[in-house]
Each structure stands twice: as C-alpha cells, then as structure tokens.
C-alpha cells in the first residue's frame, strides 16, 4: 500500500460511525464517504453520483454483468444475449458463464487476435443480430497486459444501443483512464491495484445505465449496492487514487523503461524466450507499461515459479486466482498459443516498488532457472 493510503486507512479506522446513520458520528462518516466519492469521481472523470462503492473488482464486475442483464431483460425479454471477450478476468467470465448455464443466456464470445486485441469489427459483428443485453470488454488484460480500444468499442456498442461495461482494474495504475471520455456505461475499478486497501472498489455507472441490484438490503448506493459502507477503506481508496493519478505519467514512463529492459534482456538471452502477444519497445498504449509476459518453451510454469522464488524473484504463471492446480491460461489459449506453450508462461508485474536492480537480478537468475526447469519439464 502507498504510505499515505495506509495512514488514511488507520486514521479513519479509529473513527466510529456508520455512514448510513443520522446521528453525529454517522453524519461525520457520511461526509468522509461523500468527499471520497467526489475525489474518486474527479480523478476518474466521473460524476460523484456515478460512483457506486463495492467490495472490489469481483463484486463490481458481477454487479455490472448480472445487474445490467437483469435490468435490460426486465425492460424487454427479447434482450437476452451477452457479449464478452474470451480473455476477460474470471470475475467477468464466470458471471457470464453462470448466466449461460443457469438462465440459458445466449453468449457471444469475442476472440482476440494473436496480439491479444479485440477488434472493433469483431464487436460490431457480434452486436449485429440484436438482442444483446450487455457487452463487456476489459480495458487492460490482467495476464498479458494488452490494452483494448475501449473508446472505439464503447462507441460501437452505443450505435447498437447496448450498454457497455469495461473492467479497468488493471488499467488505472498506468493509463490515463477517464470514465467520461471512454464512452463506457459501466466501469470497474479496484483500490488494491493502485496502492489502496484490499476489499474496496467501485463500479462507475452512468446515471442512465440500466442496473438492478444483485444483493438486496438496505438500499445504499443508489439502491443498487446494499450494505454498510467501509468509510475507512473508501477514504484510503480516494487517497491512493489521487496519489496514483498525480504521479501516473512519470511512473508509467519509469515502469515502461523497466518493462522494456526486462523483455529485451530476456529475449536476448538466446533461450528461445518470446513475448506473448505483441510488444513494441517504448509503447505503453497497446500494452500496459507494467506488464511483461514471457513464454519460455519447454518449461512448466510451476517449475519456473519455484526456481525463481528460490532465487528471490516473485512472479506468477497466470493470474493469481488460478494458483493451485496449474492450468494453462485461457487468455493465452484464446490468443492462439498451444497448451504446451501456454504452460511455459511467466507473468512479471512491474510497479511502484520495482527497480532496475530487480530486473537485472531476474535476468541474471533466468538462464540457470530455465535450464533446470527444462530438465524437469521433459519428465512429465
């Protein structure tokens, strides 16, 4: 966490008060929440009333997909379809699959090109038959870091009168994310990816976005997200977001240089390592600055993970949620990689605490790690 965000969290945690209560301490807590709402809205180009606080990215995604689908279907039963990219985070993927399995929803998956990008024409084609209740395409992919043309996609959805949701959890840290300029109707953001606390996020929802609650209760947050608000977490979220946005351009440039140093260094080792998808040195608009995603042929990701961890480098094979029994990433498979290639995937995230020395230590450890992992990989 950012030190300022941590301090804000601690400070506000010591204060008693339910923002929904009308007594003095309740009013004080409400003021904290509303001020945070204004600051978060300002930082992301949203009106305060468009900020719906949630427990984080997963809840926001669920609320967007299910809530919009339910709302649209209530208006017109013919609006039964869902369109989503096949490389979404599981927090979008799984609600969509749930709707398909439990409610018989017709789903059209948007397939990425080999770079991991969703084409505008792909969306247009999916919306052409009509009957779509909601479309969802993430802003930046959590595994390979590809950045989608959100404004263009949102414009296509608007032409078809379909509400457009984008999961921007991975984008806010390094990209100039603006809700108003994106054209999206619904946008997911989360505090912990920008140096704020875990357990707080928001769904940005245009005031005319069709949305009904998926969890019913006291009617907080525009009647769409019930439950007592976490004033301390929300306050800390606002502090973290403002700090992130203020330093974003400089930080993005710094991290981009680290990313390029890492990728160039890894590819140049002569070990057959490639970057998954497409990568252009110096470009942080098509691929987020903080993401380096490598494919190491002939290796099992979990062997790499163990050996790198033992060498002091913390990284990931896919998304952290898949940790456990290793499965080849659905994102890489959708991008056309074979299952064997996808098993050798290595995701390195670079952020605020990453340094040039970290990158060099990783590159120095890599040859021995890859050699060992290859020996282990051929055995299974």
């Amino acid at each position: 966490m950012l030190p300022a965000a941590l301090e804000a969290l601690m400070e506000q945690s010591a204060v008693v008060g339910n923002p929904s209560s009308l007594h003095t301490s309740g009013r004080a807590a409400r003021a904290v929440v509303e001020e945070a709402r204004e600051r978060i809205g300002a930082a992301l180009g949203a009106r305060p009333s468009e900020v719906v606080f949630t427990s984080g990215g997963t809840e926001s995604d669920n609320l967007a997909v299910k809530g919009a689908w339910l709302a649209r279907r209530a208006i017109d039963p013919a609006l039964d379809g869902v369109v989503a990219s096949s490389i979404e985070h599981h927090a979008v993927l799984d609600p969509v699959e749930y709707l398909a399995a439990a409610r018989g929803v017709h789903v059209t998956w948007l397939e990425p090109d080999r770079c991991g990008h969703i084409g505008v024409d792909t969306l247009r084609e999916a919306l052409a038959p009509g009957g779509v209740a909601v479309a969802s395409v993430m802003w930046a992919n959590n595994e390979v870091g590809t950045v989608q043309p959100v404004a263009e996609l949102a414009a296509v959805a608007r032409e078809h009168g379909v509400p457009f949701h984008t999961d921007a959890v991975q984008a806010v840290a390094h990209l100039p994310v603006r809700f108003d300029e994106s054209g999206a109707d619904l946008m997911t953001v989360s505090a912990h990816k920008i140096g704020g606390p875990v357990g707080v996020g928001a769904l940005l929802a245009r005031r005319d976005a069709p949305l009904v609650p998926i969890a019913h209760g006291g009617g907080q947050e525009r009647q769409v997200r019930s439950g007592t608000l976490d004033a301390a977490g929300i306050h800390s979220f606002a502090v973290a977001l403002e700090a992130t946005v203020a330093g974003r351009d400089v930080e993005a440039k710094r991290v981009l240089a680290l990313r390029d140093r890492l990728i160039e260094g890894a590819v140049r080792l002569g070990l057959g390592i490639t970057v998954s998808g497409c990568w252009t040195a110096g470009d942080g608009t098509r691929r987020v600055p903080g993401n380096a995603h490598l494919v190491v042929p002939g290796c099992e990701g979990d062997s790499l993970l163990y050996l790198l961890d033992a060498a002091g480098v913390e990284c990931s094979t896919g998304s952290a949620c898949q940790a456990g029994v290793p499965q080849p990433s659905h994102v890489l498979l959708a991008m056309g990689l074979s299952e064997a290639e996808a098993r050798g995937a290595l995701r390195l995230s670079l952020g605020r605490t990453s340094t040039e020395a970290d990158v060099d230590a990783f590159l120095a450890a890599l040859p021995a790690v890859v050699e060992r992992a290859r020996r282990a990989g051929g055995l299974l």
Binding site: D302, S303, L305, Y306, L307, D309, A310, G324, V325, P326, R372, A373, R375, A376, L379, L380
Partner: protein, 360 residues
C-alpha cells in the same frame, strides 16, 4: 539436503515434513494433484486428493513456514495408476494401486521432477524405515507393526531408495497424532484415508463397472464344472472373495463358496469351497529389488497382501524376470495381480507381481 516433502493433507505426511525440517534439511512441501476432477471437495473421509486436502496441506506448510506448491501429476497418475488398475481388473487380476503409485508417481514422477529442480530427495509419511546397511540403503518394516507400510514400498529399487526418506518409521500412529497436536496442526485428528483414493465411495465394483461396462458371464463350480450362477462382469471379483456371489447357499450343501479364480478371456468366475483356496506356490514377475538381487534359492518371509501376515518361504529367482516362491504353509485368497513382497528379518528384499498360484 534439499528435500521435497510430499504432503497429502493428512496427519502422517504433515509430521514427516516437520521432522525433516527439524533434522535440519531445507524442505519444500509439494501436494500432488492426482485427480482430474479436483474441483470437488471431499465426498467422504476416504478421499485423498481433494481441494480440501490440498488446503489442509497448505495450512501445515504455513505453520512450518516452508514454501508449498501443488504439482499436477493427474494425467500421469491416470495413465500409470488408474488405467493400469482398470486393465489389470479387466484381465482378471487384482492390482494394488498404492504400490503402482509409489513406484511410478511418488518415487518416479515426483522424485525425477524434484531431482531435476535441484532437490536431493523426497520424504513421505509412509510407515517404514530406511537403514544404512553395509551394501547401501536398506528398507525395513516400521516399528509400528499395525501401520507398517513396507509392503507398498517393496517396489522401490536401490536408486529410488537412495533418495527416499520415511521419517515416521520409528514411531507409532498414536505418537504421530500426538506430535501433530503438539505442533498445532489442524490435521491432528483428521481420519486416516482408507482404500483407494480415486474411488471415494469405496465401491470398487461399481466404479469398475462404470469404466468397463456390464459384462455378464457365468459362475462356475470348480469341481463339477457346472454353471451355478451369473455375474455382471468378471472384473468385479477377486480371488478369495465370498460376498456378492449371489448364490443360494442351500443349493450348495450349505458350505460357503469363494472365488477361487477369475478367467478373463472366458469371463468366467470359478467358485469353490474354502479348502480349494489354499495355495503354497506363488509365481511372480516384474521383479523389483530394494538392494542386491538374491541369487539362486533363498529363505525369506513372504507377504502376499497389504495387511496380510508374513509366512516363511523359499524363493528361487528364475532368470531375470521370474521368481518362484514356495510357502512353508498354505495361504488362502492369494490373488494374481497383487504383489508378493519378500523379507529377510525386517528387511525388504524385493517384490514381484503375482502371475500365478498353485500347489507345490
């Protein structure tokens, strides 16, 4: 040494890992994902490979402060253990999948990968002892006779044994549970796993029928050769089995009948009285020696099933892959497909898969 502790999520492997750590080794916990449908929580106390078990193992690793990984050996387990199990039953034999798992998964798939990654050895929670002998490492029975698992380890060769640790061999089960509780492990009171881990409800016959289908055939009397009944598939029967024959006992002079042999090619199950079950000649193949291979005729103790008694015997190795074991006394219900493990005192000499039985 750098050691992989195989952690099933049970109490034994938890204490084994802790003891390796106490002994000063660098320990990494590894849970083997062996089930293809690992998305299930425990269905009964019998399973060993569920998400809940992986979680239990992870909590022990947390407690010990050691790294923990899940390695996916499910496809290899399916090929080398499960498919072998099905094929053996289909051929009228009675396999022991735990032996196969030790031979091909824990001390092959797991061990080879561990060695390739720079580890020196694998430690498990089996009850058996490794003793440094004059001519290398020896495998011995555990101190706790009731828990002794040297039988299912009798397939390990000298190379595998050289990289194996069984830290529980000197302890009894109650001691291990006590130690687990003292160490604060949440699994201290977890029930023992039983039977076959990939058949969680314990109903082997039904499981095999799902894999192999119904294969109706005849029950035949061993003496008269008469057809005395019908069955749904020879794969549901094992030598020595008495239950589930579906016979009207009064029609058979009131004496209980047992399966005396299973003939897969004709899908016939041959039944007879207890007297016919006794054999004192056991022939085996697929020889595995835990140390130097014995030459010629040797006096040994022979054990023919996981929890069976050991009987004195004379074993003669015949060529490179056949052994003939003559038992001093007759044993009942010796099933082809099981292993005969040979002992010299408490030391495991080696093992063979039983190919045939008879009378010497």
């Amino acid at each position: 040494m750098r050691v992989v502790a195989a952690m099933s999520g049970g109490v034994d492997s938890a204490v084994a890992a802790a003891r390796m750590l106490d002994a000063g080794h660098e320990v990494v916990g590894v849970h083997l994902a062996l089930s293809r449908s690992a998305a299930t929580l425990r269905e009964s106390a019998r399973g060993c490979c569920t998400i809940e078990d992986a979680g239990d193992a992870r909590r022990v690793a947390d407690r010990l402060g050691i790294p923990f990984y899940v390695w996916d050996l499910a496809s290899r387990f399916e090929r080398d253990v499960v498919e072998d199990f099905v094929a053996e039953y289909a051929a009228g034999r009675t396999p022991n999948p735990c032996l196969r798992c030790n031979e091909r998964i824990k001390f092959a798939g797991l061990l080879d990968k561990a060695v390739a990654l720079g580890f020196d050895a694998v430690a498990t929670g089996h009850y058996a002892r490794v003793v440094e002998g004059a001519s290398g490492r020896e495998l011995h029975r555990a101190v706790d006779a009731a828990k002794d698992q040297s039988y299912v380890l009798g397939v390990l060769d000298a190379d595998q044994l050289a990289r194996a640790f069984f830290p529980l061999g000197d302890s009894t089960k109650p001691q291990v549970r006590e130690e687990a509780a003292a160490r604060g492990f949440s699994v201290a009171k977890k029930p023992d796993s039983h039977d076959i881990c990939f058949i969680p409800d314990g109903d082997t016959r039904a499981w095999l029928t799902r894999r192999l289908g119904e294969r109706p055939g005849e029950l035949v009397d061993a003496v008269s050769g008469d057809v005395v009944g019908a069955h749904g598939g020879a794969h549901g029967f094992t030598v020595g089995q008495r239950r589930g024959l579906g016979l009207d006992r009064s029609a058979l002079d009131g004496e209980p009948r047992y399966v005396v042999s299973v003939d897969a090619p004709t899908n016939r199950v041959v039944i007879g009285t207890a007297e016919l079950l006794g054999v004192d000649l056991v022939e085996g193949h697929h020889l595995r020696w835990c140390g130097p291979a014995p030459a010629g005729e040797v006096r040994v103790g022979a054990q023919v099933r996981a929890h069976g008694a050991e009987v004195a015997a004379t074993a003669t190795v015949d060529g490179v892959d056949a052994v003939r074991v003559v038992l001093d006394e007759r044993l009942r219900g010796v099933a082809p497909g099981q292993s005969v493990v040979l002992y010299e005192g408490t030391r495991v000499v080696g093992s063979a898969t039983i190919s045939g039985t008879g009378r010497a």
